[in-house]
Symmetry: C2
Subunit: 551 residues, 2 copies
């Protein structure tokens, strides 16, 4: 056999679908070209990287949003033998410097605008010596930097497309993405050529996402988040039309791209799609601008059931709930009812659809209790989710400390606390680090949060552990309320008691109304800072204040 590499991805898309379109939203309107041009440009960039001395063993950093030039680097870097390293443009300066230095990126491809300003500001702290602006001109501020500064357009103009790609091996590093926990330094996760091949093919199968040539695919999840969940590679292999929403798209931008380009499949975190719904509620359109849209794949955090229902009822769009991690190359499970659940009630089908879903082809999963025992799949037994398979990494870049802790025997310990039901649907109930341990029993912060967020006046809710003398820890809820609402903590508490169907000892001892929930750079709730804020001796509950443990 020949090795599993990205080479056939470029070959198939450009040879079989040269006329299919790649569309990007840019500052100056919509840019479009065809796969044929895309392929030539990728081959020019491969030539440019070769001439810049980059190849196997070198890392090519990218720092930008979703557009065709970024897609070109997705292919040119690994096809040149180098390794693509996508960097989150929303990180703080410290993390950016740490990540670029830890990866030892040799060159950075950077979006004009805010991302470029960030890199210029940090330039003296970085060992990188080549900068490529993913645009047409080098702004003055960048032209004064030490080292080589050029534009992607200049590289393309100055280099003939290579005829033959360099030889590649399946085991060769081809991709890299850092994952940031709430504690400790971000950890580098590396993907080989074979892993990118295998995961993209998995994403193409209907058992995972299912991407067809007839699809018009718009990846909204940023290209710096785990390869935009592999949609760009999978859509390219399928020969699908691709639409990229550019820098910081607004809900209005997304809706008009879906409408104008007849998008059929899109993907992103729930908040994006909640904002799109709000935008549509306010718009006063006669025709449904989502008429072409068939599916939204939602991941990154739990999708509210109400949002899923509204897309289905009002726009005839299916919302598919997915789960994954940087370490699983994104998509690791997708939630759809099985064929024989067709005649279930809608409510029961939603119960399945709201879970994280069925493990995607190639993966194996198990639940491991603190004792080390494997837990049964009964929808009740809780354990840490362990995952293994050819699309799961088994080490971090230069982090023996984390490697020893997070991998065992080919398994990745995800740090997610989950239950798996009799039908094999995984449901994440917590992060191991966020777990609330009351009297030795687990309380799921995520389930409490979801229940609170079901209240119409609650915008966000985070539940964290605070210390407790008798029960060690007890849950405390922080909620953000809609402006002008009269709902108060009392009512929320009653709502939770009435609607939540939780054991009494799960109910938070306190509900706090806050202005905002602090977030990490990747947009996750920063529960650590909430704990620090509220876990104060003066706030400790006295023993016996609640019946906090099942007897």
């Amino acid at each position: 056999m020949n090795d599993l590499t990205l080479r056939p991805f470029l070959w198939r898309s450009t040879r079989l679908f040269p006329e299919k379109r790649l569309v990007s939203r840019t500052h100056d309107g919509t840019h479009a070209y065809e796969y044929e041009t895309f392929g030539e440009r990728v081959r020019s960039i491969v030539a440019a990287l070769r001439d810049l001395g980059l190849g196997p063993g070198d890392r090519v950093g990218t720092f930008g949003w979703n557009h065709h030039r970024h897609l070109e680097t997705y292919f040119a870097a690994p096809l040149s033998g180098a390794q693509l390293h996508t960097i989150n443009v929303q990180l703080g300066d410290d993390d950016i410097v740490y990540i670029v230095e830890d990866a030892a990126d040799e060159i950075l491809f950077v979006d004009p605008g805010d991302p470029l300003e960030t890199i210029i500001r940090l330039w003296d702290d970085l060992s990188v010596d080549q900068l490529v602006v993913m645009g047409e001109t080098v702004p003055d501020a960048a032209s004064e930097l030490d080292g080589g500064v050029t534009t992607l357009e200049a590289l393309v103009a100055e280099h003939e497309p290579v005829d033959a790609l360099p030889p590649l091996e399946g085991s060769q590093p081809a991709g890299m993405c850092y994952t940031s926990g709430t504690t400790g330094r971000p950890k580098g996760v590396e993907y080989t050529q074979a892993m990118l091949y295998a995961h993209s093919m998995m994403v193409m199968t209907p058992a995972a996402i299912g991407i067809r040539e007839t699809d018009v695919v718009m990846p909204v999840v940023p290209m710096f988040h785990v390869n935009s969940w592999e949609f760009p590679y999978a859509a390219t292999m399928a020969g699908a039309t691709q639409v990229y929403p550019g820098p910081s798209p607004t809900p209005a931008d997304l809706v008009s791209l879906i409408d104008e380009e007849s998008v059929t499949l899109t993907a992103g975190v729930p908040t994006v799609w909640i904002d799109v719904l709000s935008h549509l509620d306010e718009a006063d359109e006669y025709e449904n601008p989502l008429s072409s849209l068939e599916r939204i794949v939602v991941g990154g955090s739990a999708a509210p059931a109400d949002m899923m229902r509204r897309y289905e009822d009002e726009y005839d769009v299916a919302v598919e709930h997915a789960w994954g991690m940087t370490e699983t190359m994104s998509i690791g499970s997708v939630s759809r009812p099985k064929s024989w659940m067709d005649d279930w009630s809608r409510k029961d089908r939603y119960r399945k659809r709201r879970k994280q879903g069925l493990p995607s082809p190639g993966l194996e999963m198990k639940l491991v209790a603190e004792t080390g025992e494997t837990q049964p799949w009964d929808g009740e037994s809780v354990g840490e989710l362990w995952v293994r398979g050819p699309t799961v990494v088994n080490e971090y870049h230069q982090r023996p400390d984390a490697n020893a802790e997070e991998f065992e025997d080919g398994w990745l310990k995800t740090g997610d606390v989950a239950v798996i039901d009799e039908d094999g649907y995984v449901e994440i109930v917590d992060r191991t680090k966020d777990v609330i341990k009351s009297g030795g029993e687990w309380i799921s912060s995520i389930e409490l949060e979801n229940a609170l967020m079901a209240h119409p006046d609650v915008i966000e809710a985070a539940v964290v552990a605070v210390s407790h003398e008798r029960w060690q820890e007890r849950p405390l809820a922080c909620v953000v309320l809609d402006e002008g609402t009269e709902t108060d903590r009392e009512e929320l508490y009653t709502f939770l008691e009435r609607e939540g169907e939780f054991p009494e000892w799960w109910l938070p001892d306190e509900v706090r109304v806050v202005e905002a929930i602090p977030k990490t750079a990747t947009g996750k709730f920063d529960k650590l800072s909430l704990r620090e804020r509220f876990d104060d001796p003066r706030l400790r509950f006295a023993p016996g204040e609640s019946d906090a443990k099942p007897e």
Copy 2:
């Protein structure tokens, strides 16, 4: 990453879809069980193979039709670390002995009935020392053989399912199938664990076949033909219901299985589906027994256009034309119109659909002229089809002679002569060995055959080269006519002239009506014997008898 192996195939199907069904037609009616039982039995057979001393480096031969027990060996052999070797039960004795000895099979799993009788007859010529009857009892004739003889049911009954599968590596040999040309000994083609993984995932993608959990899949192509085109592995990973039609199914058997089990997707050579149509024509049924069927994947030889049209018009079933070889693990291209051909005329869409189609994900193809030059994709330029990719082998088992001839630089030289059109659709026009070279120009025997077979009274047609003094070679057509027809060679010649749209010099110098076209053991036209029969000096055409070369 962990290696690409079959392990997650068994895991996913049995853990996520334990209640889905596997159905087999047997001598005693329909047998059905669920994936859960299937998984336990596979694990018992893994234990049995281990106890029999079989593991890495050993080959496990199978000699049988399509049923659940054969499927069990598909998994148990490679998951035990050994290599599954499927042997064609329709081969002649000589080839069977050669193949079993060449592969050095340690054990044979054999169907009761004709296959077992064959093996008993050949037993003394085989070095195999263990025989497992894929059934419940050992017939008397088999119990007298030297060596261990048992049944699959005894192995299952006597062995507890293994808890943990042995460690497997992606590079480990896991499958094997012999390919027979019309000349020379059959050649062994070996598949690694990683290749089985990659090709099955490719088959699952909609760009190739596309298999979903909701499908009811019936592989009619025999399980000894290139893993039944990988449908069993892909359907298992998808969690689809599977239906196996058992030994030598008749058209009536196939129709009633489709009807009773609500089959949605099936696959096999064209003659099977032609026979099914004839059966349906004769049947006097009120309801359409194919109402559940969505697609038939057809390969192995070209599908007649009339058959494709009739399935579509009369039964609302799409016939999808596929191409592949033992060396490409079966499916290597599938023909479907592209999204933007939706508004083409039906005729134009059929022109595409009748070709061998678009290369499947992971493959690269090119046309190479005799000069070694790469040919353009213009629908006219002819060349040998070369294929490469991670699902293409790059050597034969112990055949350095063939390796030197048929592989170059990672490419497989398929021996198929093809054109590729501007849209990337491959069309096989001949086998290199069957090519007719008239005055230095290629004439496609396959195109002439297809044109002849379009005549309503022609059952089969084979066109071969016969020697010619002036033009070196000229085409001669052999046709089998419907019984009782009044059509004669004159009329056929006129039909070809009128309907074929061929250059005049392509027209066969002779049309012969024959009783039957001789076939090879794999059911292909045995053109070598036709050439030997007709290429007689007495039959040589005199110079100038036809205007046989374009000036």
